[in-house]
Every structure is written in C-alpha cells, then in structure tokens.
C-alpha cells in the first residue's frame, strides 16, 4: 500500500520552539521549496493555536515529508489533532525541548505502547 507513497518522501519537517528549530536547522534539515514554503515553523508564546494546527495539517498533507518532528509542549496545545492523527506517513515524532523535559506518559504513541504492554 505504501510502497508508492514513501519513495519520494525524503524531507523532515519540524514544528518547535526557537532553540529546537535552530538546532535542527543547523543539522541541515531546513528546506524551502520553489513556492517559498518552509518545512519548519517556529512557535513562540505569541503563536496562535489555529496557526499551529494549520501548519500541522499542511505538513501532514505534503507528500515530500517523511518525518514530522514536533515539540511535545506544542503537541500538547493541539493534542486532539495529534491524537486523531493515525497515518503512517509522515511519521509523527514528539520530541522534547529545552524548557520542557520529555514526558513519556503524554506521548500518543507511547500511550499506545504502554496500553499494549499493560495487557
């Protein structure tokens, strides 16, 4: 089923706070397409929730993104949207940020893992 769709997915996208995005861009994941579309979104205290959601939708619908990284505290803000997201591609990964240490209990994937292990 997915053999066709994941061949041309080779980018990473990130939604995160300034430090996380800067670090990941330093590693070289930044990409700006011909239509001037960035594959990263910097979220600060002033960013509105609908804007994060819009970016999330955009990144999950783009066909060239293989992995979408999102800071956990930002994922918390749009938790219903994140929990609803079930597709395999792009893979959604919640990452910790500098100010917010990683909490495995909040991760939607780990929640499922723990449910499966608990049974």
């Amino acid at each position: 089923m997915a053999s066709q769709s994941f061949k041309d997915r080779n980018l990473l996208a990130v939604i995160g706070d300034e430090d996380t995005v800067t670090g990941l861009l330093l590693a070289g994941i930044g990409h700006i397409s011909e239509q001037q579309k960035k594959n990263f979104l910097v979220v600060d205290a002033k960013t509105q929730v609908p804007m994060i959601e819009a970016a999330f939708e955009e990144f999950t619908e783009r066909t060239d993104i293989a992995i979408l990284l999102i800071n956990q505290h930002i994922a918390e803000k749009i938790r219903p949207t994140v929990d609803k997201y079930q597709q395999a591609f792009p893979a959604l990964l919640e990452i910790p940020s500098k100010d917010h240490p990683y909490d495995p209990n909040k991760d939607s994937i780990l929640k499922r893992v723990q449910k499966l292990f608990g049974e």
Partner: protein, 272 residues
C-alpha cells in the same frame, strides 16, 4: 439439526457435497496460514515495541545534550537563530526510505542521507565557530536517532494495523466461514440420507407390490386351471370346496388390485 446454523443456499447433491468439502479444506488451510502470519507479525511487533520504548527514552537524553550544545553556541556567539532560519535553503540532511518485508507486509525503514553542504559557513565566523561546528555535529547525531526512532514508529503503526486486519480475517474464517461450510455439509449429508431412505422405502413398496401381483396371478392361473378342469371333466363331479375358495380369492384380489394400482401411481408422483 442441519437447520440450526447458517448455511449456504445450495442444492443438496453429491457434487455440491464434494465442492463444499473442498472449500472447507481450503478454508482450513487458509486459516492455518493466516494464523501463522499473525504469529510471525506479532513476534516482530513485540520486538519493535520494546525498541520503540527504549529509543524514545534515549531520544530524551540525546535531545538534552543537543540543547546544551546549542546553549554553548548562544553563549559564545550570541543569538544565531534568526541567521540560521534565514539561511536555510535546501535540505542537506534528508532521509531515504527503503523497504523491508515481514511476511508480506512492507515495512519502511528510513536511512539518513547527508549531502556535504556548505550551509551556515559564515555562522560564527567572528567567534564561536568551533561551538557552532560542534553543535552541528551533535544535532546531526540527534536527528539520526530521531530518524531511527521514526522508522521504528512507522513500522509499529503499520504492523499494528496489519495485525488487526489479519486478526479480523482469522476470526472471520474461524467463526463464520468454517461453521457455515460445516453446516452446509451436514445439511447436504442429511438430505442425501433422507433421499436414500425414501428411495429404499419406495423400492420396498414396489417389491411388495410385485410379489403380491405375482401371487395373485398365480392364484388366478390355478383357479382358471381348476375351472377348465371342471369344465372338461364329467358334469356329475360336483365343484370341490377348494375351487370355490379359489374363485372367491380371485374376486377379492381383483377388487384389491384396483386401489393398489392407484396408490402406486400416486406414490411416484409424490416422490418425483
């Protein structure tokens, strides 16, 4: 007994029985194959599950390290985030998906592909260049971990879905298809047995009728012989008691044979 469970709407013949038996065998083979597939997938799934759990925890540590190195950069050079964001053009850090096959399920695995780019060469030119380079490396390592985790997680999602589908199929065959075929076979066998019994009964009837007819014919013949002998013999000879009885019997028989014929012709209509 055969009408209890659901069964296929099929005409009970021997051919249908053979076909249904073959289908039942096919369903059983399919069931065992699917069950094997499910077991193989589940084994794999368990392994991945454990790895995902580990990798997620490892990621926490790696990202912490990376943020720390970025903090060093900020200390040495000042805030470079704006510079870095504006300089991003084409990704030098990409992933490549290759696929892996687990019992017919294609699992993607991401591989890191790094192009040697000259991005951010001027960043930290004035001071803190070393920290910038170090931070770049640390973050690259971190992203590699993330990519690894992402492929594990994707495999996890796909396997989860496939296992569910396979489970559904296994259960459908076990609880719906096989009982249905079983019921059909039982129904056909019972119908065929019923037909056999009817056929046997009919034959018995026919045989009985034939026997009776033969006996009647024999008696009639004897009676006729007796009558002829009587006619041929002297008039003085009185009719023996035996012949009188015979004659009576012949009359009785002719009366009996009437409804007997009707019965048999009707019978055949009923059966076929």
């Amino acid at each position: 007994m055969s009408g209890t469970g659901s069964r296929e709407n099929i005409f009970p013949t021997r051919m249908a029985l053979t076909n249904t038996k073959l289908r039942l065998k096919g369903a059983q083979t399919g069931h065992s194959l699917l069950a094997k597939k499910r077991d193989a997938l589940t084994t794999r799934f368990r392994a991945i599950l454990r790895k995902v759990d580990e990798a997620k925890r490892k990621m926490g540590r790696v990202m912490q390290l990376a943020s720390f190195s970025l903090a060093e950069v900020t200390y040495a050079t000042g805030d470079i985030s704006y510079l870095v964001q504006e300089q991003a053009k084409a990704a030098t850090f990409r992933v490549k998906a290759k696929q892996e096959n687990v019992s017919g399920v294609v699992l993607p695995a991401f591989e890191v592909e790094r192009a040697q780019g000259s991005d951010f060469n001027l960043t930290g030119l004035g001071r803190g260049g070393q920290q910038v380079i170090k931070s770049k490396e640390v973050y690259a390592k971190a992203v590699e971990t993330l990519v690894e985790l992402a492929s594990l997680q994707t495999a996890f999602m796909i396997l989860d879905e496939v296992i569910r589908a396979t489970n559904r199929r296994v259960n459908a065959i076990e609880h719906v298809v096989i009982p249905r075929l079983d019921n059909t076979i039982k129904y056909i066998i019972s119908e065929l047995d019923e037909m056999d019994r009817e056929e046997f009964f009919r034959l018995k009837k026919v045989q009985g009728k034939k026997k009776r007819d033969n006996e009647a014919a024999e008696l009639k013949r004897k009676a006729e012989l007796a009558v002829a002998a009587e006619a041929a013999g002297s008039d003085e000879l009185p009719a023996t008691g035996e012949t009188a009885v015979l004659r009576n019997l012949v009359e009785d028989d002719s009366e009996l044979s009437g409804p007997g014929d009707l019965l048999s012709s009707k019978d055949e209509d009923v059966i076929f």
